[in-house]
């Protein structure tokens, strides 16, 4: 039987939204307060959803220890208490929460083998959250609702 497991993590990071492709005035208009030269930060909440058959031997979809270790090393270790603009991933990409969400999906999809990745959900604040189901997810496939 197929079940879907979601694990929630937290990390904090700072960043500035600024695109070198557009003028200072346009940056100011598009990104508003997030364009502040000195940056700002958030306490992010990350939800990773994996899915698969429940293993009859363990009763589990995924080895939680393996998931926690991978996320801790590859995501929390990489982004936690960092300035996102200084990281390689964001040298040519504005570190919006949309881009951070898809970047985390890519890291998991590339390296995590213990279960099938289904979704990454990233909360920037309690008011804003973003979900990514991968590049293949067609419109409407993503959500069962």
């Amino acid at each position: 039987m197929k079940a879907h497991l979601t694990r929630r993590y937290r990390f904090s990071a700072s960043y500035r939204l600024h695109s070198p492709a557009i003028s200072y005035a346009t940056n100011r208009r598009v990104y508003g307060k997030c364009n502040n030269l000195y940056g700002h930060g958030h306490n992010y909440a990350l939800e990773v959803t994996v899915g698969g058959q429940v293993d009859a031997r363990t009763g589990m979809v995924c080895d939680l220890v393996a998931l926690d270790e991978f996320v801790s090393r590859e995501v929390l270790g990489r982004f936690g208490h960092e300035n996102l603009n200084r990281l390689a991933a964001f040298q040519n990409m504005v570190p919006t929460t949309e881009n951070l969400c898809t970047e985390i999906y890519r890291l998991l999809e590339r390296g995590f083998r213990a279960a099938t990745l289904e979704k990454v959900r990233l909360e920037e604040t309690m008011m804003n959250s973003f979900e990514y189901y991968g590049p293949q997810a067609a419109k409407g496939v993503a959500s069962r609702e």
């Binding site: 079940a3 879907h4 497991l5 979601t6 031997r57 363990t58 009763g59 220890v65 609702e145």
Partner: protein, 136 residues
Amino acid sequence: MVYLTRRAEFSASHYYHNPKLTPEENKRLFGKCNNPHGHGHNYTLEVTVRGPVDTRSGFVMDLVELKEVLNREVLDAMDHRFLNQEVPEFRNRIPTTENLAIVIWQRLEPKLKVAELHRVRVYETSDLFVDYYGEL
């Protein structure tokens, strides 16, 4: 089609152990959860049903009826219980959050007549939950 979700809470104890494996393998696979005396959680259950809105009542289904089914089939059986010992489905199945979601689905699905069961979500803690949609 409208989806209705009802939340309930229950507290229970459990431990993880597969009798087909050696004590060492059990310890390695399940770690602290292998303690045979059990440990406990405050579970949060979310049950989602779906259906057309009845024109006469304006309901997908009568919430009182849903609550009664939840109380009878899940809470009475599992709240303040040792899942391994007291819930028959877990005599031969490890009471992981995954299996808990599946067992709750199997208990509720045949009892719901008016609306169709869509999803069972079980939170073991606020940082870990499992969704089951009845998929084989």
